[in-house]
């Protein structure tokens, strides 16, 4: 499938390059609907592999790459089932999103996240699955999950550990604070820093450059440089489910969902 337009995202293949655009109101939250369309996207990789050199992931929403997992949906779905069935439902969702993230992580072409605005939680996990992160200087990155009593669940900690030093990982997790793009670039989370509104243009330019290289060498380099931390990813699902089963998490989610204040995304 060379092009697709869904309810939450769209993609188009042109001249060897794929471009996936997240476009779900209000802030590209990753819930069931986006997951289903990301699964369709990932299932197209095999057929496109031989003729594709790059894939850019960007956002059509102003001021945000993605605010992360859809916490409102998570809360309402969890609240609608008996307490003892909650971990089973969340585990099923996490296994599916992990399969998508792993497919993007190991995609047989170079993946580039073109980030502008807020890149939080699951949004950051999506960016971390990509080979190269290019960020607008107004971008901000954070893992705010601990304020709700759980951990990033879409592969965030293992992938963050793969790319960054433990000190930065702990700072991000334990404070939940947002890092600006300059700082994210300095610590190695961001590969290229773009001027305001320039991330997508720079990503396209980068995609044209990577297309010049031999695909076999590119694939071998990627496999060598970027192994998927499968064991840790499995552990992450277990830890998430264990934490999620606690009543404190549902109470925190309820508070978040009912929060109509101006800064609900900030820790």
């Amino acid at each position: 499938m060379k092009s697709f337009t869904g309810k939450t995202l769209r993609w188009e293949w042109r001249d060897g390059g794929l471009e996936l655009t997240l476009d779900r109101e209000p802030a590209n939250e990753i819930g069931t609907a986006m997951l289903e369309e990301l699964e369709i996207f990932a299932s197209s990789f095999e057929a496109l592999a031989l003729e594709t050199s790059s894939c850019i992931i960007a956002s059509a929403r102003k001021s945000v790459f993605s605010a992360g997992g859809d916490l409102r949906e998570l809360y309402h779905q969890a609240a609608s089932v008996p307490e003892n069935e909650r971990p089973k439902g969340i585990r099923s969702f996490l296994k599916r999103i992990h399969a998508v993230m792993n497919a993007i992580d190991a995609a047989p072409f170079v993946t580039i996240a073109a980030v502008h605005g807020a890149c939080l939680g699951g949004g950051l996990e999506l960016a971390l699955a990509c080979d190269i992160v290019i960020a607008d200087k107004m971008a901000r990155f954070a893992f705010p999950e601990m304020r709700l009593g759980f951990i990033p669940g879409f592969g965030g900690i293992p992938r963050l550990k793969r790319d960054l030093g433990n000190a930065v990982v702990r700072d991000l997790l334990f404070t939940g604070r947002t890092l600006n793009a300059t700082r994210a670039h300095a610590v190695g989370l961001v590969a290229q820093l773009a001027g305001e509104g320039e991330a997508l243009r720079m990503a396209r330019s980068t995609a044209m450059q990577v297309a010049k290289y031999d695909p076999v060498a590119r694939a071998a380099t990627k496999e060598f440089m970027k192994p998927i931390p499968r064991e840790e990813l499995e552990s992450e699902i277990d830890i998430f489910c264990e934490l999620f089963a606690r009543p404190e998490v549902m109470a925190a989610l309820k508070k978040f969902v009912e929060d109509s204040g101006p800064m609900p995304y900030l820790p």
């Binding site: 802030a27 807020a118 995304y265």
Partner: protein, 80 residues
Amino acid sequence: MRTLEQTTQEVIDLAAKHFQLPAGSLAPEDDFFKKLGIDSLQTLEMLSRLENHFGIELPDYEVQGVSDFKTLAERIQSRL
């Protein structure tokens, strides 16, 4: 070294410019959430503008609960 008054004025000027408001329409004691009508994502954007302008890092938890320009300027001033 900037004075607190200068920092406050720069914060106000930056907000007025970004949200396209007349320079004199914002005051140090104004509640910027109400005055600018901004949401959480715009707040993050404003934080980036402030950090880029002053060349500092301003952790979110240091501005949590802050809603007026003067207190925001005080937080910035402590990191200059």
